[in-house]
Amino acid sequence: MTAIILFTSAIFIEKAILILVLFVLTLSVAAYSTYGERKVAAFIQDRLGPNRAGPWGLLQPLVDGAKFFTKEDFMPNAAEKWLFILAPGAFMFVALMTSAVIPWGTQLTAFGGAVDLQVADLNIGILYIIGFTSLGVYGIMIGGWASNNKFSLYGAIRASAQMVSYELAMGLSIIAVVMLTGTLSLKEMAAQQAGFNWNIWYQPLGFLIFFVCSLAECNRAPFDMAECETELVGGYHTEYSSMKLGFFLFAEYINMFIACAVIATMYFGGYNFPGVDPGWLGGLMGPIVMLGKTFFFIFVFMWIRWTIPRFRYDQLMRLGWKSLIPLAILNMLLTGAGVLLFGK
């Protein structure tokens, strides 16, 4: 009896620590993504970017956070009070939940024990992620609706329409990967891509579709229809200020981080790299490789944002429904045929 209690409490503590580490990691990556975004933008525009707060401006995210907390917390008179407060929290909650199923490495071996570098190995991991990212639009919808502002409502409507359009193509491109790997668990997907046997070699078209769709899911340029400052004055978060606004912006960066991690896991071998054993350094090599890939894709996301102008709404819809979905179906059929003919 005591053995069982000891065992469960050990697992509980292990998972709690892992969750805490992941939580801190996610938040700090999101915070430094804002810094990275500004630096990338500046470098692409031949500028230097923030360099006053600390060496190379490295304290900028902390200063920004402190600023968010000390700003006036304004609420419109006619806003739906509870929904207005609930929205950023809901958005943030959903964004943080998704990181639970991502395998950051194989196992961490220290002090004679072994710890799985994944909070929860769900056998439907990828479905869980898709489900939660779809829930993310509720935060935007509630926020836009509760603001009692037509621009906010427009942003919210656009966000949900975009989400519906692109989630279809995204799901279809994921189905192709699932057919190829024969599993819905992200852990097994990563394990199957050992060495250089990455899914991208079998799924280039699927990757392209998934990548475009994840740009749209993260509300990133060129698909930032929900915010587009030039048309909607900031879209769904027009009326938000102080840390509530901070939560929205932060959660978007967390979403980007998770999306990049999922791309790395599904198509680019996760913690695998040719010639590198994820078990090196007591299992720390896996997370390092994984984070490296993730940061690379975050950079690509930013690079795209500062290169391509925003799509018009009708162009966005045409691209989603008339190009990406047929392409995704074609990709699915090709994959099916390939799996049937050549096996996995």
Binding site: V40, F43, I44, Q45, D46, R47, L48, N51, W303, I304, W306, T307, I308, S323
Partner: protein, 185 residues
């Protein structure tokens, strides 16, 4: 009229297949931004680095003194007449006995004011000056919150007597002389 040969005729035609899949154009654009990423940055870290001024920059005026430390200005008012922005005002006074070490000429400017908000830093005052008394220098007018503080009196304009407080205007002086000889004045 064609000014450059870079203009393109815009035609509202249907996009070709290559254009409709966007990707070639996107990769081209990303290549461009990537090149900019590694390019030399234009930013100047202002308080630490300062942009180099032209040696004949036209900034904060100086009222010169001669070798003996006497003010050159004789309050003839030609600078005020020449000034297109009407920024200069002055009041003349007669030099008393015993003030020969202060003023070079028998008449001097008791009050000499330049409104730095009116001044357009054209340099016509230095060209008008027959006594080589006023020059523009490469110093910037400091910012202020009060308009009144931009009316610079003699305390802000006349250079100090001590050698280390003198303002070097030789380059500017040469420049004006060349300009004057070019038009035959």
């Amino acid at each position: 009229m064609q000014l450059t040969n870079r203009s393109k005729n815009v035609v509202n035609k249907e996009m070709t297949f290559w254009e409709r899949i966007y990707l070639p154009a996107i990769f081209k654009g990303m290549w461009t931004t990537l090149k900019h990423f590694f390019r030399k940055k234009n930013t100047l870290n202002y308080p630490e680095e300062k942009r180099e001024f032209a040696p004949v920059y036209r900034g904060w005026h100086v009222l010169k003194r001669d070798q003996q430390g006497r003010e050159n200005c004789t309050a003839c008012g030609l600078c005020a007449v020449a000034c297109p922005a009407e920024a200069i005002t002055m009041e003349a006074a007669e030099r008393k006995k015993g003030e020969e070490n202060l003023y070079r000429e028998e008449k001097y400017a008791a009050v000499y004011e330049i409104n730095m908000l009116r001044c357009i830093f054209c340099g016509l005052c230095e060209e008008a000056c027959p006594k080589e008394a006023i020059f523009l220098t490469d110093r910037l007018i400091p910012a202020d919150y009060v308009r009144q503080n931009f009316i610079f009196g003699k305390d802000m304009l006349v250079e100090g007597v001590e050698p280390e407080k003198r303002v070097d205007v030789t380059v500017r002086q040469k420049h004006i002389t060349e300009k004057k000889t070019a038009v035959g004045v």
